[in-house]
């Protein structure tokens, strides 16, 4: 079910039925070039200073993944209850010498709300996407999307803005009212794609072996079922029949990635359900995902790469005990797992204590002295309580940024020399 071959067929057939012309699938990036030449949009291009690495997508098209000078597009669910997901990513960038901005000048994509309550519409979603795209552009940093749903939504919105002149005009008008213009990124890039291409640098810094670890992967639906053309595939991973991320990094680190029968199923998040009808979410997560992962694959850990998926698969398990499903399988994002393997502090950086299913047994298996780390973290919390300043991965923002969308050295890329002073480094 849902192999790359099947998905390719669906995409091709949809195109034929929609256009009624038997036209082949069009690469949206070619249309973007045409629109830019006509003065309709600006393309936020990946530049040499973004140090891109090339990968392949569903139709074998090449996609360039920028690895440096990145603008973190955080996820609205991840930061509230699984903060180890973004903090592990920031830490990994520091360790590998990558520069980035992590700003308060970003909205979420608002697509959780749209898919949960429908109190929005495509023009609004496209305008929100374009607003964030322009904000990244004006800082000279390339957007890196943390969330599977934001990634899926932004792919949809980029396509909509390219294909629909009416929506494009409306969005351009709205952006104009806030002094922004219509900028579309050359690529929509998911953070797990960044982790994937950074594998050699991660491996070079690996401290803990994961060879005995059995991992089951949950592939986030919105990563590869929304605008599937942009998802990354690799012949060396599942013979190119399933997305290469996040499995690739686990294999590279030496974990055993085990298959299970319901790999293609969603996690049960449901957008609306996770907040107001969790009976569904937890039944689905436990019965259709966690149980097969444990009983079929004997997993030590479930790995995924989306906010909602980590939340649902992790938090739904506690109540499982009441239904005779006492699994408590640890659920981590790929970047938390990679950071742990690289020796990140399990509590200060990977923040595993926010997860409902304990990662302690997994860490023992990885050879991590989590007891010492836990004691140290306990002392750190007391020190914070006594007024010590927190340890930060990047400098704190000033008061002026409470109000205004600025950062030091802010500059539009097309007006800039290679690297604007003060905007790079672990600046924000």
């Amino acid at each position: 079910m849902l192999s790359a071959n099947e998905i390719r067929k669906v995409v091709q057939e949809r195109n034929q039925h929609q256009k009624g012309t038997g036209k082949k699938v069009v690469d949206v990036r070619e249309e973007m070039e045409r629109l830019e030449a006509a003065g309709e949009i600006v393309i936020h291009r990946i530049r040499p200073e973004n140090r891109p690495v090339e990968v392949s997508t569903l139709f074998g098209w090449k996609k360039r993944i920028p690895t440096d000078r990145l603008w973190h597009h955080k996820s609205c669910g991840q930061c509230g209850n699984i903060p180890g997901y973004p903090s592990s990513l920031l830490w990994l960038m520091n360790e590998t010498g990558r520069t980035y901005l992590n700003e308060p000048h970003q909205t979420s994509c608002t697509a959780w709300n749209y898919h949960g309550t429908a109190t929005s519409n495509p023009v609004a979603l496209a305008a929100v996407a374009a607003r964030n795209f322009h904000r990244a552009y004006e800082t000279g940093h390339f957007p890196l999307i943390h969330c599977g749903t934001s990634y899926g939504d932004y792919k949809e919105m980029r396509k909509l803005l390219v294909e629909n002149a009416t929506v494009r005009a409306k969005v351009r008008d709205v952006l104009g009212k806030m002094g922004r213009e219509l900028v579309l990124p050359e690529e929509i890039v998911h953070y797990s794609e960044w982790v994937h291409v950074m594998a050699p640098e991660i491996l070079a810094r690996q401290k803990h072996t994961v060879e005995g670890i059995v991992a089951t992967v949950h592939e986030p639906c919105h990563y590869y079922k929304m605008v599937p053309e942009d998802a990354v595939y690799d012949e060396a991973i599942y013979a190119g029949q399933r997305p290469a991320v996040p499995s690739g990094i686990l294999m590279a680190l030496g974990a055993k990635v085990a298959d299970y029968s319901t790999w293609y199923d969603c996690c049960g998040f449901g957008f609306r359900h996770i907040l107001s009808e969790r009976e569904f979410s937890r039944s689905f997560a436990n019965l259709r995902k966690i149980r097969p992962m444990v009983e079929e694959a004997h997993a030590d850990v479930a790995i995924t790469s989306d906010t909602g998926c980590v939340t649902t698969l992790d938090k739904s398990q506690w109540i499982g005990k009441a239904h005779g499903l006492p699994y408590m399988l640890p659920v981590l994002s790929d970047v938390q797992f990679a950071a742990l393997a690289m020796g990140a502090h399990p509590y200060k950086i990977a923040q595993v204590h926010w997860h409902a299913a304990s990662a302690e047994a997994l860490m023992t298996k990885m050879g991590i002295d989590w007891k010492a780390a836990k004691a140290e973290f306990r002392e750190y919390l007391q020190a914070l309580k006594n007024g010590q300043a927190p340890e930060l991965l990047h400098p704190a923002h000033g008061e002026i940024e409470t109000y205004f969308a600025i950062n030091k050295g802010q500059v539009l890329p097309d007006e800039a020399p290679a690297a604007p002073a003060g905007a790079g480094g672990r600046s924000r």
């Binding site: 849902l2 669910g77 930061c79 509230g80 000048h105 970003q106 309550t117 607003r131 002094g179």
Partner: protein, 278 residues
């Protein structure tokens, strides 16, 4: 950031009659539509077929059932994407109206059906179109179904993030167990200290997913005003909408005051920061 500090913790406002009614998931087929509802169903039906997305998303149906085979919602609800697509394709105002009462809200928006359908229908998308109409026309069962979303809609409309760590309270998330809120009880310090132990200043807030600057939140609200989202929300809950407008008005004043206060620092800045006026 102060914007979310003063948000009232409230659900959507329901009329007495709506509060007394059973939730949407119990409604279907239990009673006849009133004349007003029949008129509304005709309006919605017309608007549904006039939506530009309709012909893009609804391409035909082989009745093969592939979509339903992979559908997570179909495993737990009286719901099937095949039925939804067929209602969209050949249903009348009454069948569409019936679907709006309950079924549209069963879908998880996972897009699995879309990837299984050899006709290339965008079933998840057409369900969203149905939902949008149901929201903007304030269909009673939809108001009831979305009643628990008052707090997250307030957060979303004013700062653009869906949840905050202070929303994940044991009272509402009892099923998540004792470790769902950063396990502060297990560590012997308060939630604020658990947040300060996250190594990024923008993530340390308890009142949003991350700190959001006032300019950013005002830009977002401008988008909502300009693209009809505020009008949709008015259909769902006029009181909530008015409250949001009041909050934003205050923020606009605060923003202009800050512009005065930081005049020297802002001198020479280009782009939206120099020109945006809330």
């Amino acid at each position: 950031m102060t914007i979310v500090a003063h948000l009232p913790q409230r659900a959507l406002t329901l009329t007495e009659e709506e509060s007394a009614a059973p939730p949407a998931m119990e409604l279907t087929g239990r009673r006849r539509a009133s004349p007003e509802e029949r008129a509304l169903s005709e309006t919605i039906f017309r608007e549904f077929h006039a939506d530009p997305r309709y012909h893009e998303f609804v391409l035909g149906c082989l009745n093969c059932g592939e979509c339903t085979t992979g559908c997570p919602a179909a495993r737990f609800y009286d719901f099937s994407p095949r039925e939804m697509l067929q209602i969209a394709e050949t249903g009348d105002a009454t069948t569409l109206w019936d679907a709006l009462q309950e079924k549209i809200w069963a879908c998880c928006q996972c897009y699995t059906c879309n990837m299984r359908c050899r006709f290339g229908n965008d079933i998840a998308g057409i369900i969203s179109v149905m939902r949008e109409l149901s929201v903007s026309h304030g269909v009673a069962s939809t108001r009831k179904t979305l009643a628990p979303f008052g707090r997250s809609l307030t957060l979303l409309m004013t700062v653009g993030t869906q949840v905050s760590s202070d929303m994940i309270q044991p009272d509402f998330f009892r099923d998540w167990g004792p470790f769902a809120t950063g396990s502060d009880r297990a560590w012997g310090v308060g939630a604020d200290i658990m947040r300060r132990a996250i190594p990024s200043d923008v993530l340390q807030t308890t009142r949003s997913s991350w700190e959001v600057s006032v300019q950013t939140s005002l830009e977002l609200f401008r988008i909502y005003e300009e693209t009809g989202v505020l009008d949709m929300l008015r259909g769902l809950d006029p009181d909530l909408t008015e409250m949001l407008i009041d909050i934003i008005e205050e923020r606009r004043e605060e923003f202009e005051e800050a512009r005065e206060r930081f005049r020297t620092e802002l001198e020479g800045m280009r782009g939206p920061v120099a020109t945006f006026r809330g």
